[in-house]
């Protein structure tokens, strides 16, 4: 007889859905079916059962083949490369729990490492903009209950955050939004008419890389200024129309994604989007929220923030925390050849960094802590598979609106596998031993 577990947290995207139901076998060892989740979330739960899963640490041999080792040996190796390195990079942290992040940060303090999370190739520009101009924001609960004007700018939730629209932003029926999608006007701004655009009341096809100009034009139009006939490929009539729609709303929320953070202008695009939000508050209520990708990238920023004062790119190599994106950021450090040892936790820079940076990771001793086989594990010298947070072990995570949610264990990990917090604990013990620090 199978059991149905309810109120499970999905450890995939920053929406961190908390209404997942999972059917497990009677002995609690196998996931049989996943309910309520999106296709990607289901796949993550079911892939945990994959028969070809790697369950023991492995070291790369000189001929490129892998040799199985123990967690203890892998921890010794990891501690050694981190202690031997002058500037070890400890990257990732977005697909693991806040508890594991905290243990990793203790290691970084001992070895003088650079701590950077996946925001560095994602919403790093957003974090810089927030430090520059502040951010008027709210929680997704407020979006659900109050927002009647939603803008998706440079993001495609239909593919990247599939349940965001039904739980919070388009279809959900809240206290003041009882008619669901009928009580909201949806605007999508994107160079591609995405599947999210097909759900919108208004679609604006902005020229690629011209977001700053269009955001400025919206601000100018909001103040009643005259516009040229076209801005960023959009007619002035359309811009005035959009401004009227926004001004007519009771609560405007702008969601934005990689379309603005990755295009030229970067943090300045976000500055302008935040400034537009602030301006809108002269007419109605407005907030802005970043569509964070990994389920706990927000948590990594939070933990780094309360421990060191900065949300990413934290350099501890001088014995105190320094933060200077462009200098202490992973890709810049790698490209300048400053990194001489690397630890990757719950992330895949092998796929998501420009290839020139991946080559640098390949050329130095690198340990990758990840349950899955990825291009990063392929370029690493040691791969440490661990239990999957949110499926095989619980832990704290932060949703994209900075709301902490405790993820839950659903099934046991394969026999003998450690969690990443446990493995990092072993590494910390070894590092303390090498450094002669009393426990």
């Amino acid at each position: 007889m199978s059991k149905r577990l309810t109120d499970i947290i999905c450890p995939f995207c920053g929406t961190l859905c908390d209404d997942i139901e999972v059917e497990v076998s009677d002995d609690g060892k196998q996931i049989l079916e996943v309910y309520n989740s999106c296709a990607i979330g289901s796949e993550k739960f079911l892939h945990a059962q994959s028969p070809d899963r790697i369950t023991r640490p492995r070291m790369k041999q000189e001929d490129g083949s892998w040799k199985e080792t123990t967690y203890e040996e892998a921890a010794k190796y990891t501690a050694k490369i981190l202690c031997d390195a002058k500037k070890p990079l400890m990257y990732g942290w977005s697909s693991t729990s806040c508890e594991a992040q905290s243990t990793g940060h203790m290691i970084a303090e001992q070895v003088g490492g650079v701590l950077d999370n996946t925001a560095t190739v994602c919403h790093g520009s957003t974090l810089i903009a927030m430090q520059d101009v502040g951010i008027p924001s709210c929680t997704l609960g407020e979006v659900k209950n109050r927002a009647d004007r939603i803008i998706f700018w440079g993001c495609n939730p239909a593919h990247a955050h599939p349940r965001h629209m039904s739980r919070y932003s388009i279809y959900s029926r809240g206290y003041f939004t009882g008619k669901g999608s009928k009580s909201r006007k949806i605007i999508v701004v994107d160079p591609r008419p995405t599947d999210s655009a097909s759900l919108a009341d208004e679609y604006i096809q902005v020229e690629q890389g011209r977001d700053y100009e269009l955001l400025s034009a919206l601000r100018a139009a909001l103040r009643g200024a005259q516009l040229p006939d076209k801005v960023s490929g959009v007619t002035k009539e359309k811009i005035y129309e959009i401004v009227d729609i926004l001004k007519g709303g009771r609560f405007v929320v702008i969601f934005f994604g990689m379309g603005v953070t990755h295009s030229l202008g970067k943090n300045h695009n976000i500055d302008m989007a935040i400034a537009l939000t602030a301006d809108l508050n002269n007419y109605t209520k407005a907030s802005i929220i970043a569509m964070r990708g990994h389920y706990n990238v927000t948590g990594s920023g939070q933990v780094l923030g309360w421990q060191f004062g900065f949300p990413f790119c934290v350099d501890l190599s001088r014995g105190f925390a320094r933060y200077n994106p462009g200098e202490t950021s992973s890709n810049d450090l790698l490209m300048r050849g400053e990194v001489d040892g690397c630890l990757v936790v719950g992330s895949d820079p092998g796929s998501h960094f420009p290839i020139a940076s991946v080559k640098k990771i390949h050329d130095i001793p690198t340990v990758c802590i990840d349950p899955h086989t990825t291009p990063t594990t392929a370029v690493s010298t040691c791969h440490v598979p661990v239990a999957i947070v949110g499926i095989e072990v619980g832990g704290s995570c932060y949703r994209m609106d900075n709301v902490p949610i405790e993820s839950r264990k659903v099934v046991d990990p394969p026999a003998g596998m450690l969690t990443d917090a446990e493995f990092l604990g072993l590494v910390l013990k070894e590092v303390n031993h090498i450094k002669g620090v009393a426990e």
Partner: protein, 113 residues
């Protein structure tokens, strides 16, 4: 993405470039054939397919992944974030060349030089 990045499905989903029919005609390539995409930083072989979320004239779209990251500008302009979007590229027919799997692609690129 969550079914295993070493698997063929990942290559089929991300080792592609989506183009408008008009651009495919202009480039002298055939849809569903392999093409070589090159930028000033590197080159990569991917499969050209008709835009699934289009039209977007003049714009090619390669999903986030190692194939796209062969081509992008690694300059972060002091933000920490490489310039992943808006890379000018050339697309040429490469019907005889193979699209490499994620791991083969990355390992081959790392072994070069």
């Amino acid at each position: 993405m969550e079914s295993g990045k070493e698997k063929e499905d990942y290559m089929k989903s991300c080792g592609i470039i989506e183009l408008d029919q008009a651009d495919i005609d202009k480039l002298g390539i055939l849809k569903n054939t392999n093409v070589c995409v090159s930028s000033k930083f590197n080159r990569v072989v991917v499969k050209a397919i008709l835009a699934t979320q289009g039209p977007h004239p003049g714009l090619g779209w390669i999903p986030m992944g190692p194939w796209a990251n062969m081509l992008v500008d690694n300059n972060t302009y002091s933000t920490g974030t490489p310039t992943f979007k808006g890379t000018p590229v050339t697309v040429e027919p490469a019907e005889d060349e193979k699209v490499l799997s994620s791991i083969d692609l990355v390992l081959k690129a790392c072994m070069e030089e």
